[in-house]
């Protein structure tokens, strides 16, 4: 990731996936793939608890989940 104090930053898909994985494990005790699959199929108990992660996943070229 680029240095702080700029208005803009760049991340790689691998960095995004790492952030999603760490956050999904910390919040829901599940993988990022499982979190996004459950989100897509309506099986997350409270999808709003990961609204910021859903927003971040929007940067991915391809969705993690099918």
């Amino acid at each position: 990731m680029v240095k702080p104090n700029d208005a803009e930053g760049e991340v790689t898909q691998d960095e995004i996936l790492k952030m999603l994985e760490d956050a999904a494990q910390a919040r829901l005790k599940m993988s990022a793939t499982e979190m996004l699959e459950r989100y897509e199929t309506g099986q997350l108990a409270d999808p709003s608890s990961v609204a910021d992660l859903i927003a971040l996943a929007g940067l991915l070229k391809k969705p993690v989940a099918a």
């Binding site: 990731m1 104090n5 208005a7 930053g9 991340v11 790689t12 952030m19 609204a51 910021d52 940067l59």
Partner: protein, 192 residues
């Protein structure tokens, strides 16, 4: 909002700087994936997209906005998801959050309103929630609340000191809200 994500980020930074943002903080950052979708951006934290922003009472506001160019609508820049969460510490995964306004343009299969407020608290009355559902899992339907709404709650209800006097920041927020109301997508208040 037109087509420029940088202008949108600058507007949000202005709104935060004249109100609740911690002094000298540069504000939210516009993120993109170098090898990801070329038409998506996220407005988020400074060091990482998930990092909450420090505010002037020593607590934090997590700002997460997913922006995309809508090629089906004149390439206008639109918000796919927004989430504004007031929280006690800087941990992106904290359980110490106070309230959160969310908006999801794409309806979820769950029967939750696409725009809603959640509050991390306990009811003072017994037996008012179904099946022991905690209050923080209740989604209070709202109209779509922009960042300005979260700022107003912090300033007017939580009494977070603002950088500028109210005579300055209130008209700026009001004008931004008028512009938002003219173009904002408003989801239904619940599933259709």
């Amino acid at each position: 909002m037109d087509r420029d994500p940088r202008a949108f980020r600058e507007l949000l930074t202005l709104l935060l700087r004249i109100t609740v943002l911690q002094k000298h903080h540069p504000g939210p950052r516009l993120w993109r994936a170098v090898d990801g979708s070329p038409d998506h951006w996220e407005i988020g934290g400074l060091a990482t997209p998930l990092e909450p922003l420090p505010i002037r009472n020593g607590k934090f506001l997590r700002v997460a906005i997913d922006l995309f160019l809508d090629h089906g609508d004149r390439d206008y820049l639109k918000v796919a998801t927004s989430s504004f969460q007031y929280q006690v510490d800087q941990d992106p995964n904290t359980k110490a959050w106070v309230f959160r306004y969310d908006y999801l343009r794409q309806p979820t299969p769950q029967a939750h309103p696409s725009a809603h407020l959640q509050i991390n608290a306990r009811p003072i009355l017994d037996g008012v929630l179904p099946d022991r559902t905690p209050l923080d899992r209740i989604h209070f339907a709202t109209r779509r609340v922009p960042l300005e709404g979260a700022i107003r709650v912090l300033a007017d209800e939580f009494l977070v000191e603002c950088a500028q006097p109210a005579e300055i920041w209130r008209p700026v927020l009001s004008e931004a809200e008028r512009l938002f109301a003219r173009i904002a997508h408003e989801p239904p208040l619940g599933p259709e």
